[in-house]
Assembly symmetry: C2
Homo-oligomer: 146 residues x 2
DNA sequence: GTAACTGCAAAATATTTGCATCCTT
DNA sequence: AAGGATGCAAATATTTTGCAGTTAC
């Protein structure tokens, strides 16, 4: 149906832009990221996709996307690894993740707050920062309004 | 037997303060943390301890220490989990990790920069931060001087 | 002596690799 | 047609659990 063509348009273009062949798994996984505001863990993807693809494919797809700069990992204090879409400024092998990540302690959603700028840090003498990540925990927009 | 109370004084006292029984594994693992400025991953501990204790003991000891507020986990973007000593303000079930963590891309040491204050963040409307973690990557004091 | 801790074995999870087959270009 | 991607099987690695023996208090 025509609905699928429109839906896939974005993602397909994104894949081509990164010189990746357009496959069903990649389109579907990419759509999962597009369809929701937060970040996804490996497990989420297996579940949400309705156990459609192999676990190994998910691993390899995520790894490819990270390498190509389509998604990035979000640091978390617990062991879990979460992935989120990169903004346009990210390019292969060189992420610009200067936005803030926000984890809601109520609904457990992880957001990339693209518009929140990472503040300046005064580091002790001798320390030179190349990249700064900010990870905020608290109550998100959705949950605080209810 | 009566132990070398003086040597173990620091770590032993710390364990007692948290009402943990003082055992050899706990003393040794705690000493590993005391003896170096950075953070340790589970694997580091197994290695540094000279394969003295069981892997399971390390898992359980680290978990106990985290629960009691003796150490805390440090978020990292790669999958690894690292642990570092908490400052005095940390108490059971309630960490005050408002200092900055710094990972040196040269020597791969993780530091807790206790004196660097986490800056204020302006979050979008509806978002309320309860805890903010800052993770800086770059060149550390040691490495930049060489 | 009792409760808590450790170490071994084994189970449960998570991640990686090899290879034959299928799909994209 | 050629190269890359997928899926299955299996190898590794990581983390958890149960339980018997040991240690701390």
């Amino acid at each position: 149906m025509s609905k699928e063509i429109i839906l896939d348009n974005n993602t397909e273009e994104l894949l081509r832009k990164h010189r990746l062949s357009v496959t069903e798994s990649r389109l579907k996984i990419l759509n999962l990221f597009m369809d929701q505001p937060g970040a996804l863990a490996h497990g989420d993807i297996e579940k949400k996709a309705g156990e459609k693809f192999d676990r190994v494919t998910v691993y390899r797809t995520l790894q490819t996307f990270v390498e190509k700069g389509i998604i990035h990992t979000i640091p978390t204090a617990d062991n879990s690894v979460r992935y989120a879409l990169c903004r346009d400024e990210c390019s292969e092998g060189h992420h610009h993740d200067h936005h803030v990540h926000f984890i809601c302690t109520s609904c457990d959603t992880t957001y990339c707050l693209d518009d929140v700028v990472t503040p300046e840090l005064k580091l002790p003498k001798g320390y030179v920062a190349q990249q700064i990540e900010v990870l905020a925990k608290g109550i998100c927009n959705e949950c605080s309004g209810k």
